[in-house]
């Protein structure tokens, strides 16, 4: 077949582009299952909530539970610790947002916004830097120290020293009875 060079757009050009476009869409559609298979499966997504009994936790004690594959800290704070946490102005905080899933996204990180009852602090045990589990009762702020990269949290689980960028997250939870909470 003889080919002719012409500046004008021809029906053949249109066919080339249309065919190429269909092939590109087809390739993308074929690639998607190979990418999406790595996302969490439905079995993983079917996450259960957990119930945590509180009666055995003593004042000043922090207990770790497993929630959705991650550690969850439940800490019974002493009156002195509560007073310390309440005395911190929000302007002193690295992250001024409460990070509390029970509250609106922009709630300020006052101590009151970090709990349902002041005595009980329920926070995710996942350091917001790179996901290590911080150690309780260490560091300069009476809360947690992450040994991986040195981040420190106070007794309200708020980050006080970097490199962690955010306060420890607070999951959705509620009191079923005064001594039992449901998380998730």
């Amino acid at each position: 077949m003889a080919t002719t060079t012409t500046a004008e757009t021809t029906r053949r050009d249109f066919l080339y582009i249309a065919t190429g476009s269909v092939a590109a869409v087809g390739a993308a559609a074929a690639a998607w299952p190979f990418i999406d298979q790595m996302n969490p499966s439905t079995a993983v997504l079917a996450l259960a909530s957990i119930e945590v009994p509180l009666e055995t936790i003593q004042p000043g004690q922090s207990v770790t539970f497993k929630f959705r594959g991650h550690p969850l800290f439940v800490r019974r704070r002493t009156p002195a610790e509560i007073a310390t946490a309440k005395a911190v102005p929000v302007s002193d905080l690295i992250d001024p947002i409460a990070r509390n899933e029970n509250l609106p996204d922009d709630a300020p990180a006052t101590d009151a916004n970090r709990e349902i009852k002041p005595e009980w602090l329920v926070v995710s045990g996942v350091c917001t830097h790179l996901g290590c589990t911080p150690t309780a009762f260490e560091g300069d702020f009476g809360g947690w120290l992450c040994h991986c990269h040195g981040s420190q949290y106070d007794v309200a689980g708020r980050v006080r020293k970097g490199p962690a960028p955010q306060n420890l997250a607070i999951p959705v939870y509620s009191f079923l009875t005064p001594t039992r909470i449901k998380v998730g």
Partner: protein, 431 residues
């Protein structure tokens, strides 16, 4: 430098094959007669040593995979996992399993030891300079693939260090959240890598799959690396171009013998580590089964990643820390254009040579900082500040000193030719 082929098929079969698939011709031209500078020293043996390392890792890895069970589920031993138990079974029950695993685990360290020497050698003799830029960049890609492979391999025994290394490294991607706002792209990437909401069984499975795949990709890129080497030919300690046949010797037997000798020496060191100190480079915490609720008190990467770990830890801001970590490796790819000097070898660069050795010391100091605790301050000097200075020098060396020194330095006079320099003007064959 890859001149016309000198291969002449000797038998009927090789003549028949040569006109259909010139495989023997290819091997003859690249591995036997390939003209190689006559002045390559010990430091040039690490290409062969690295090929040896890759072979050892692939062979031991294939047989270890026959006995390994990539499952984070709990098996017969409570608190452990099938993966951890199968590694213990390899160590205790499988015939010669202890040997194969210790060779594979220490092989990774020996591989990195060799690759670092290989990289420093390239840096010292200016092997990245035109016309070898592509060769150098392929090397950086191989190094990056090696880091990924080593990381995923380290996760497989599913000990405490495995689990928390996987957690920390995959969480590096979550720093993207800080620039993508409400989209939480980083969190989605981390979830996609995990196949869940934490490092768990799906993560272990895919890491095993990729750990098996990547070495073969490395082998393919090594093929390109050698191809890119064979177009301009080897650089050499003088850093001057080969001017003719008097400057070269055939690869075989000169460098096959020399390389084999040094591979032997390297294997002795390797064997010493495997047989007398098999856990020397390992972390004892990795003999504790993974526990998602407890992070070990001191979490450190393997020694070969400590300098980068020190950089990450010295930056008190998450996203910037991650960018500094990644940028340290990406920087290497730009070296061919950062170095403005016309002279390749540091033998003739009196100023650059000093800063080069300072750079080597800097990498070692960063490695030391990374190996110590977060708040360590030996002699009252906080190591986090040492690491900050070290990080600044790492970047400053490549992005400031390299372009600058090339402009202000007066290099020493270069020799006329490799042959004259090696043999002396009197004995050099006529040119």
């Amino acid at each position: 430098m890859s001149g016309p082929s000198t291969y002449v098929p000797q038998t009927g079969f090789t003549r028949w094959l040569d006109s259909r698939l010139p495989l023997v011709r290819f091997a003859h031209d690249t591995m036997l007669t390939f003209p190689t500078p006559r002045n390559l020293n010990f430091w040039y043996a690490f290409g062969a040593i690295l090929t040896f390392c890759l072979g050892v890792q692939i062979v031991t890895g294939i047989v270890l995979a026959m006995h390994f069970d990539p499952s984070a589920n709990v098996g017969a031993v409570p608190g452990s996992s099938l993966a951890f138990d199968s590694v213990e079974s390899i160590m205790r029950d499988v015939n010669y399993g202890w040997l194969l695993r210790y060779v594979h685990a220490n092989g990774a360290s020996m591989f990195f030891l060799a690759v670092y020497i290989h990289m420093f050698r390239g840096l010292y003799y200016g092997s990245y300079k035109a016309p070898r830029e592509v060769l150098w960049i392929l090397g950086v890609i191989i190094y990056l693939l090696m880091v990924m492979t080593a990381f995923m391999g380290y996760v497989l025994p599913w000990g405490q260090m495995s689990f928390w290394a996987a957690t920390v490294i995959t969480n590096l991607f979550s720093s993207l959240d800080q620039i993508t706002g409400g989209l939480k792209v980083g969190t989605h990437v981390a979830t996609w890598l995990w196949g869940g909401f934490a490092v768990d069984d799906p993560t272990l499975n895919r890491f095993f799959s990729l750990h098996y795949l990547l070495p073969f990709i490395i082998a393919a890129v090594v093929g390109l690396h050698i191809w890119a080497l064979h177009v301009p030919g080897n650089n050499n300690p003088l850093g001057i171009d080969v001017k003719g046949p008097q400057d070269t010797v055939p690869f075989h037997p000169y460098y096959t013998a020399k390389d084999a000798f040094y591979v032997g020496l390297f294997a002795i060191l390797f064997a010493f580590l495997v047989f007398f100190a098999p856990d020397f480079v390992g972390n004892p915490d990795n003999y504790i089964p993974a526990n998602p609720l407890v992070t070990p008190a001191d979490i450190v990467p393997e020694w070969y990643l400590l300098p980068f770990y020190a950089m990450l830890r010295s930056i008190p801001q998450k996203l910037i820390g991650v960018l500094v970590l990644g940028g340290a490796i990406v920087t290497l790819a730009f070296i061919p254009w950062l170095d403005t000097s016309k002279v390749r070898s540091n033998r003739f660069r009196p100023l650059m040579k000093q800063f080069f050795w300072l750079f080597v010391v800097d990498c070692l100091v960063l490695g030391y900082c990374g190996s110590q605790g977060v708040d360590a301050a030996p002699g009252g000097v906080p190591l986090v500040w040492v690491a900050r200075v070290g990080t600044a020098y790492y970047y400053g060396f490549f992005w400031v000193l390299m372009p600058l020194i090339g402009l202000i330095e007066t290099p020493k006079p270069l020799p006329d030719s490799i042959a004259k320099s090696v043999l002396g003007a009197a004995q050099a064959p006529a040119e």
